[in-house]
Symmetry: C2
Subunit: 512 residues, 2 copies
């Protein structure tokens, strides 16, 4: 942890007046977003039945591999037919287990004001996760470091467009792999006061993440979720031990699990949209059911990462229409099962933060919102098919989140009659700019973004002819310069630091 | 018309073998697209009733101005209450007139293979219209010329992503204003063989446009539409003489009219989404009804151009969530009225073809598609709030149209069972790349765009590190270099040329 962090130097409540004034001017952090639009549907109820039935047939007849002895024992004990590592599940068993999951729950930040409300009718935003590279404030692409990760967390804390911190937004590649999770959680807990994602790659790391959160949250975690773990599947039809260990640690600690099959359409699923969904649905449901077997009532999110694959290069293709359609069907299925679900909100494949990046991200964002996604994951920074977290794009996506949240909330009729009086008052050929209704309501009626530029060509030219990429990198730099870490009891910080120090002395930095 | 055009020099059927081979490789032009997804809704049926009722109250109580003597006489003759230029309309009168419109119709290109199927369940694409500036092949922003307009028409003809040519995609500012429509229609008819938009600014110009189309299409136009006219309203609640003259010429000639209120939210409508829609709906319905009064059965499209306005700069803001919501409600209304409707598909405000341009365009594109828009207008090139048609963006948007069309068509189950057999065959942990089903179906199952880049960072670097902007400008240049004009009987071309020459001798190039 860099000693530049002024947490210990500041007294509680010692924020400067300037900072407080700046805070007051800022767009407030997104609160709970409830969908006010009804989602797109892409298949009829009968077709949805067919997909569901196909998923059930896959689980029953083909089965699914849990490559983990503990899980196999648990499945056997629950009465499933287990052959080798292949688990065959009946519809009744799967559906009974799924039914034990809560349809809605809250993930709490250490700041009580910062919560993520997850439910089948809500929308929440989390930053991207897992990038090995950063496109930095100078637009340079390079391996990411702990300082980059901390900067992403500082941006997450400062920007109003996120409910949940990514946790492992980028890899701190300057830190030994076995120690990274310690730094990630320390940064998530100190540089932000939001709910966050912990690491779930294996038993020991997961336990460290939970233990560190407990240092800060204490017994509150016994009956509240404060963090989530992202458990990725290994399509087709495999769940691996490393992730299942993580799942158990988080589920047993009462924390949230996000269970995501990993679809590379036509590479690890059939070259068919509906059949791909049938397969991923089988994968998701098997692991969702398993999470309930581990601990009934586990808070969980139906996940899925879906892209199609270029047959030219083998590369994942973001924002493609088939993936947009998969999102729609997954949304229909998740609502049928009464489970919240996630999409990949700002998917892009571009090597620059350019027009391609914008097209892809906005398509994915609208795809998620119009399919009714509940967790808009990777909704900040994702580029180059997830290999890069782009600092400029991070702040741009955060602003897009505010726009898409406004859209998702739909239309209110609170001032409809009053507005119609304005129509009478103004009449044909008039204008509304100076009208009392306009002056009273324009701020709330029409959102005004800051990073999208609406100046005239002449004004824009006079301001330096900056492309969005540059404007966003400058904005990111400005936010980082102004950043002040959220307050924390110095004793808690000290206990986190000593936990990390102790574990670093216990864990070899070399990968076995 | 530039003498570089090789139409006369070529014999009929004289296309080179190379060109024919190239043609065969090309992505085929979009055919009729029928929605296979159900649209988003943003208001309940009861709320839709409220908006409709408010529109009816506006037309009845406030009235709407038709600033045109002929229109006022026609309204009086039809029994409307007319006071000055203010026309008061009853719900019965409006609805009876609207009911005379066909719900679906075809616009025919002079190539019989090129048609636009317009209906309440179809999606069609037309390029942008009306830009005074171009961002050219070198990325330079400048006043557009006739050669630019012709190049946009050549691109429209060559790209598979458009059903209808914009007609006046950009202004030929090097041509005298009173002569421009002649050049526009000549180019539309010679450089493309698609359906197209004619000019509708006034009686004389509209008549010229129709007359030129008749030279090519002849009596076919008596009972078929081959072109459309874009009639813009003057919000709030005004329709001007110039556009109404145009409307009458096109309606009487049996051609399509697109009637578009022009919403600058909070400037010429109230600062309220639902009330803005109530106003624009009143405006649209009044003129839609008028088109039926002019000629019962007129083929027409419910139009609307909607943006919100920045209170900082007064500039229109593209892709904002409130406009996305307006789209959704207009879609709900148009379906209730049984009329096809249009959206602004590739709205962007950026001064460059950069990330902002991509975000805005894709948002607007998804907005239209998920709201069920039937005419995706301005779906090629639109940037800088319509002041610029960008040549690079033009080809990028054309590709986006292919993607969004694929999405809109939804999911088919034709190969579902066969694909599920592949799931059985591959089983857990396998891969699908070499499977027979994949090899047979991947081409049709997953679309693979050309201008979006999915190369690895290393491959992309080796290919010159080109941003999308550059790739698209290069693609545009390549298409223009390969362009061959569609065939036309030299006698028809000669008659068009002599019509233009005659009218140029009759019409003063100076604006009165």
């Amino acid at each position: 942890m860099s000693d530049a962090t002024p947490i210990l130097a500041r007294r509680r409540g010692g924020r400067s007046v300037v900072a407080a004034a700046r805070e007051a001017e800022r767009t407030p952090r997104l609160s709970a977003i409830r969908y006010g639009i009804s989602p797109v549907t892409a298949v009829s109820e009968a077709q949805l039945d067919r997909i569901h039935a196909a998923s059930m047939a896959i689980l029953r007849d083909i089965g699914i591999e849990f490559r983990d002895e503990t899980a196999l024992q648990q499945w056997r004990a629950a009465g499933a037919r287990v052959e080798g590592s292949r688990v065959h599940l009946t519809e009744a068993m799967v559906m009974d287990l799924i039914a034990k999951a809560p349809a809605r729950f809250t993930i709490h930040g250490r700041n009580p004001a910062h919560v993520a409300e997850i439910g089948p009718d809500t929308m929440t935003f989390a930053t991207m996760q897992g990038a090995p590279c950063v496109r930095d404030l100078d637009g340079i692409r390079r391996a990411s470091t702990l300082e980059d990760l901390r900067n992403f967390n500082r941006l997450t804390q400062s920007l109003p467009g996120f409910h949940i911190g990514g946790g492992f937004t980028c890899e701190p590649t300057d830190i030994a792999v076995p120690w990274r999770h310690l730094e990630m959680v320390r940064s998530a807990l100190l540089d932000t006061d939001l709910p966050f994602f912990g690491l779930a790659t294996g038993q020991q790391r997961s336990e460290d993440c939970i233990a560190m959160a407990r240092l800060v949250h204490g017994a509150f975690m016994d009956d509240h979720a404060v963090m989530a773990a992202h458990i990725s599947g290994n399509s087709p039809l495999v769940w691996d031990a490393t992730m299942l260990e993580g799942l158990r640690v988080y589920a047993e600690a009462g924390q949230v699990v996000l269970l995501s099959p990993f679809v590379l359409g036509a590479a690890n699923t059939p070259a068919d949209v509906a059949a791909t969904v049938a397969q991923l649905n089988a994968e998701a449901l098997a692991c969702l059911a398993y999470a309930q077997l581990v601990r009934a009532g586990t808070r969980m999110i139906y996940g899925q990462y879906s892209v199609s694959v270029s047959m030219k290069s083998g590369a994942p293709m973001s924002g493609m229409p088939e993936v947009t359609l998969m999102n729609v069907i997954v949304g229909q299925l998740a609502r049928r099962y009464g489970l919240p679900w996630r999409t990949t909100a700002a998917q892009a494949s571009s090597k620059l933060f350019d027009a391609q990046s914008g097209y892809e991200s906005a398509t994915a964002m609208m795809s998620g919102a119009t399919a009714g996604a509940n967790l808009m994951l990777h909704a900040g920074g994702w580029d180059e098919a997830g290999l890069v977290c782009c600092m400029g794009k991070f702040v741009a996506d955060a602003e897009q989140n505010l726009l898409i949240a406004r859209y998702a909330q739909g239309v209110d009729f609170d001032h409809f009659d009053e507005a119609l009086e304005a129509v009478s008052r103004i009449g044909p050929g008039g204008h509304y700019l100076g009208d009392a209704f306009t002056l009273k309501h324009f701020r709330e009626a029409f959102i005004a973004p800051e990073l999208l530029d609406y100046l005239s060509h002449e004004q824009w030219k006079a301001k330096g002819e900056k492309p969005m990429d540059q404007r966003c990198r400058e904005k990111a730099a400005e936010i980082l310069a102004e950043y002040e870490p959220p307050q924390i009891d110095p004793a808690l910080k000290a206990s986190l630091d000593s936990y990390v120090a102790r574990r670093q002395s216990e864990i070899s930095p070399n990968i076995a």
